[in-house]
């Protein structure tokens, strides 16, 4: 190999015009091997001056043309191919000087690839588990996750998407796929929970509302689920409730809660409490409504929250924000005592809160007019600041504050990651793209 490389080097020098002797003097040790090879190569190269004899050229040409004209071509060029050849010549003669640079073809190909990827990804957003495009949907979510500004919010959105998928599967009577979908939902929710804890986030009022929506979805699914999936759904409901209570902010942080009007029967709440069916220690409304003696309420009563923060799916008052002056967003931790008080700065008023508005689920939910009416139960929490009215009956320790003063933005489009990469803020809104 070394000798071969040396020969190539010497041959290049020879071809460049150096004399053979000069070249060989540079390599005295290899002269004996190189010299014969270079001579032989040189002799071969001299043959380049040889040409076919003129007589032969002419006679052979004539004979060739005779035979060519006499013999049919074995395969004729199809008309389409001739047309292609003609077009190619035209392009070569006219268009090539004006042709785009060599990279134009690559750019065009890249554009087609991008279009294909974008279209496929967009179409995949409606995919459900076991669908062909579902892996693409999951992959696009991972990509989207990299660009998400709020990972916590993104995790919640993913959980909502998983739940919507389970709901869609049930709607389509694909019951066999529902359990796996619920497991994915549970996993997503777990990831959100971990991220929240790791981030040490305190105020999860908006998350509470979103969890409430999810809880409602699970409840509705339970009403239509086959018997074999009921237990799973109920377990998932309990899990979601636990998270909801766990990460809910304290009610004291929301001045709006302190302006709650007097308790009024809340038909929605009634319906919720009735619909829940299975009271548990963490279920809402153990009392079912009014009249619960305050003392009986637990300091951290998860039962309060749902009643207070009725999630308005379709509310005529949607859009109302929390009253002004609710600037004090201090939200003691869920477990903190309720000593914190915020002086209300407005008269009690209903502060309907438009929260997430599930899309496809809206038909399942009873349209409710959100009424932030203090529940009878909250009034049973006297440890809340006496300066607040009875409306401030938020249970201490982070009772049912429905999201301290933050209006929940609810695009309702489910925040599809599809091609835009926009940050989703809500829900499962359009999850039911079936």
């Amino acid at each position: 190999m070394k000798e071969q490389a040396l020969f190539d080097t010497c041959w290049q020098a020879f071809a460049a015009g150096e004399s053979l002797e000069v070249i060989l003097e540079r390599h005295p040790d290899q002269r004996q091997a190189l010299e014969p090879m270079l001579h032989a190569a040189g002799q071969l190269q001299a043959v380049r001056t040889v040409a076919a004899p003129s007589a032969f050229r002419q006679s052979a040409r004539a004979r060739l043309l005779e035979q060519v004209n006499a013999v049919e071509q074995e395969t004729s060029v199809p008309h389409a191919q001739r047309l292609a050849i003609w077009w190619h010549d035209l392009w070569a003669s006219v268009a090539r000087p004006l042709a785009a640079p060599a990279w134009a073809g690559a750019a065009l190909a890249l554009l087609f690839v991008l279009l294909f990827v974008t279209t496929t990804t967009y179409a995949a957003q409606a995919a459900l588990p076991d669908d062909t495009l579902y892996p693409i949907k999951l992959a696009s979510e991972q990509v989207w996750h990299q660009f998400a500004a709020d990972s916590v919010d993104f995790d919640m959105t993913l959980a909502e998407r998983r739940l919507q998928e389970a709901l869609s599967l049930q709607t389509q009577n694909r019951h066999e796929a529902v359990p796996d979908a619920l497991i994915r939902y549970q996993q997503s929710l777990g990831e959100w929970s971990e991220r929240v804890e790791m981030a040490g986030l305190q105020d999860q009022g908006r998350a509470e509302q979103r969890l409430l929506v999810q809880l409602k979805t699970l409840q509705e699914m339970g009403e239509h689920a086959p018997a074999g999936q009921l237990e799973m759904l109920q377990e998932q409901q309990r899990t979601t409730e636990r998270l909801m209570h766990r990460f809910a902010p304290t009610p004291d942080s929301d001045p709006a809660t302190q302006h709650r009007p007097a308790r009024t029967p809340d038909p929605v709440r009634e319906q919720q409490t009735g619909g829940q069916g299975k009271p548990g220690k963490e279920t809402q409304t153990p009392t079912g409504g009014q009249g619960t003696p305050p003392q009986q309420a637990t300091p951290v009563s998860p039962t309060k929250k749902p009643t207070r923060t009725t999630v308005a799916t379709e509310t005529s008052e949607a859009g109302r924000q929390t009253p002004p002056g609710s600037g004090n967003q201090e939200t003691p931790g869920p477990n903190q005592p309720s000593g914190h008080t915020t002086t209300p700065n407005a008269e009690p008023q209903q502060t309907p809160r438009s929260t997430t508005t599930p899309g496809s689920n809206s038909s399942r939910h009873t349209p409710t007019t959100q009424v932030e009416t203090p529940t009878p139960e909250p009034s049973s929490t006297p440890e809340i600041s006496p300066t607040a009215g009875p409306d401030s009956t938020r249970t201490p320790g982070g009772g049912g504050q429905g999201g301290g003063g933050q209006p929940t933005s609810t695009p309702g489009n489910g925040g599809q990651p599809g091609g835009g990469g926009s940050q989703p803020t809500s829900t499962p809104g359009s999850g039911g793209k079936n």
């Binding site: 000798e3 071969q4 020969f7 190539d8 041959w11 290049q12 020879f14 071809a15 460049a16 015009g17 004399s19 053979l20 002797e21 014969p36 090879m37 001579h39 032989a40 190569a41 040189g42 002799q43 071969l44 190269q45 001299a46 043959v47 380049r48 001056t49 040889v50 040409a51 076919a52 004899p53 003129s54 032969f56 050229r57 052979a60 040409r61 004979r63 060739l64 043309l65 035979q67 060519v68 004209n69 013999v71 071509q73 074995e74 395969t75 004729s76 060029v77 191919q81 001739r82 050849i85 190619h88 010549d89 070569a92």
Partner: protein
């Protein structure tokens, strides 16, 4: 190259004059390629003519993305191999080959270079005749036609690395064969257009 492509396209469309132009353009190269590998001039002319006739007959199968000359080399190589299989070269004496070599070519005088003599051509042919078809082809394409290893590999259907190794081995062999004839070494100057 572009002109070749146009001529090929026209010839593929049935234009015999275009094919004749291709013939004029490449007949010398094919002739050189063949003449060192066959014993007589008549055989070299016959094979050369046959190469172009076969090219015309199979022109519709030619893919324009490669040079037509490489395709012609390939046809010529196959044709020479067929010739070697049909005739026994060992029966051809060295003297006869030398004599044939004197008749086989009419080197055109090059004002810048020493013209190769008929005797030298004969010596080359004799030496090449003892080598394999691939070695003959490679040496011819490499040092006479100045093709790159990439082009040679495409013509012979081998890898570039294999062609490099084969060249080295074949050249050493050729050098040994030619040594008795190199008692008086001439200082040969390369042609300026040689490119590696």
């Amino acid at each position: 190259m572009e002109e070749d492509h146009r001529l090929v396209a026209r010839a593929q469309g049935g234009d015999t004059e275009a094919f004749a132009q291709l013939y004029d353009r490449h007949v010398d190269a094919i002739y050189r390629y063949v003449m060192l590998r066959v014993p007589t001039r008549e055989q070299a002319e016959d094979i050369t003519e046959d190469v172009f006739l076969r090219a015309w007959q199979n022109l519709s199968k030619f893919r324009p993305e490669r040079p037509i000359l490489h395709w012609l080399y390939r046809i010529a190589h196959n044709r020479v191999v067929d010739e070697h299989r049909r005739k026994a070269q060992q029966n051809t004496s060295l003297d006869a080959m030398n004599e044939a070599g004197q008749q086989i070519a009419s080197p055109q005088p090059d004002p810048l270079h020493t013209a190769i003599s008929h005797e030298e051509i004969g010596h080359l042919r004799s030496a090449l005749a003892t080598m394999s078809d691939d070695e003959q082809a490679l040496l011819t394409l490499r040092f006479i036609e100045n093709l790159s290893f990439k082009d040679i590999a495409a013509i012979l259907g081998k890898s570039e690395g294999a062609c490099r190794v084969l060249q080295h081995r074949a050249l050493k062999k050729l050098a040994q064969k030619l040594r008795p004839q190199e008692l008086q070494a001439q200082e040969l100057r390369p042609t300026p257009e040689y490119s590696i």
